[in-house]
Symmetry: C3
Amino acid sequence: MTVPHEIQAEIANLQSEHALLLDEDRLEEWLDLFTEDCLYRIAPRENIDQGLPASLLVAEGQEMLRDRVVYLRKVATFNVHRNRHMLGPMRVVPDGVDAWLVIQNFTVHQSEPDRGTRLFAVGYYEDRVVRLPKGMRFEKKLAVIDGDMVMTLLAEPL
Amino acid sequence: MTVPHEIQAEIANLQSEHALLLDEDRLEEWLDLFTEDCLYRIAPRENIDQGLPASLLVAEGQEMLRDRVVYLRKVATFNVHRNRHMLGPMRVVPDGVDAWLVIQNFTVHQSEPDRGTRLFAVGYYEDRVVRLPKGMRFEKKLAVIDGDMVMTLLAEPL
Amino acid sequence: MTVPHEIQAEIANLQSEHALLLDEDRLEEWLDLFTEDCLYRIAPRENIDQGLPASLLVAEGQEMLRDRVVYLRKVATFNVHRNRHMLGPMRVVPDGVDAWLVIQNFTVHQSEPDRGTRLFAVGYYEDRVVRLPKGMRFEKKLAVIDGDMVMTLLAEPL
């Protein structure tokens, strides 16, 4: 634990903003939390543990992530659910100059009109965060999902 | 994110104390976390998103909130469940001198003897926190509930 | 709230590391978070509230806790589930020189291949944390479980 508390607090803020912008459906602003050459990936834990490359969602670079958001806006007519992220224990370790590896647990609950609220995903993030002149950004975000939940909306970021 | 980490930590402590005092059923001490002229409100997300005024619970001022606590103590004989709050990602933005707007996700699980534990409410707080000489206090607390959960105990604070 | 934010951040890190090491099944490293003469205990809330001594798991001292880990490694063949801890609101109060009492809510979700993810335990920790030359350590950790969940693996730490 040689990471200063100020740095940890900044990274915690980045993670919070990531989660809240998704819950608020502000996807265009959410994109700004990533570096130009970012890697974004969602994969089930079985694949990660066994070193399998298959993913539920992959975007290499902010532009590909932006395409995904444009796509999501087009299909949003059919998408009336709302997500609610919770963030759990976090571990930050240095990984070079102004860069850190970050592990953090998460849950996502999903609500739909007339269908109530249900647990949608449980897992952890494995991220690389870098400090740019404009602030902390995700260079890599990997969302690893426990168990074998049915993903009803594979295109959606977590 | 121009709010100093010290301020964020103080507000996080206020939110934690709010949640734990409710879980510990220390409602009289919980009242002290609010200003005299506070607004306390619980509403479903549908109403908030559509600008509808209907609420599940409203109290204008600490005295009205105190009346609610007195009422809850009277009916407590029938109330054997226990709540457990979890707090999620938080966003703090300045809103005047010594005042901040605070967004924070939450979940509440409810347990009853011989009936196990179930998810009771999922949503977010939208609060205004002010710094008084005696410390941080809630001037406004709005608890917005996702989905359309059946509220078995409307009178109860979240 | 007279505990400096730096101390609170260190204790929050200890709690996070405790949760993540359990989720990562790194039980041998998890042991290092406790003092030699630690008390580790899991009990249902009913027992705690009524002052009953019965527990789901008790270990007096790090050595007894180590024996438990050795035992868990032996039976691990039958144990394919994975845990995911979330940490909630935390309260820290001073309890002597370089010692603090810590209350923190938690949830644990459990995932099994082909059986999905389910809520496993909800409750709170009631801990005593001390500062040793090598860092913060648990002198006492009591995990209190709400409701009356069936514990499928009583031997397992929370």
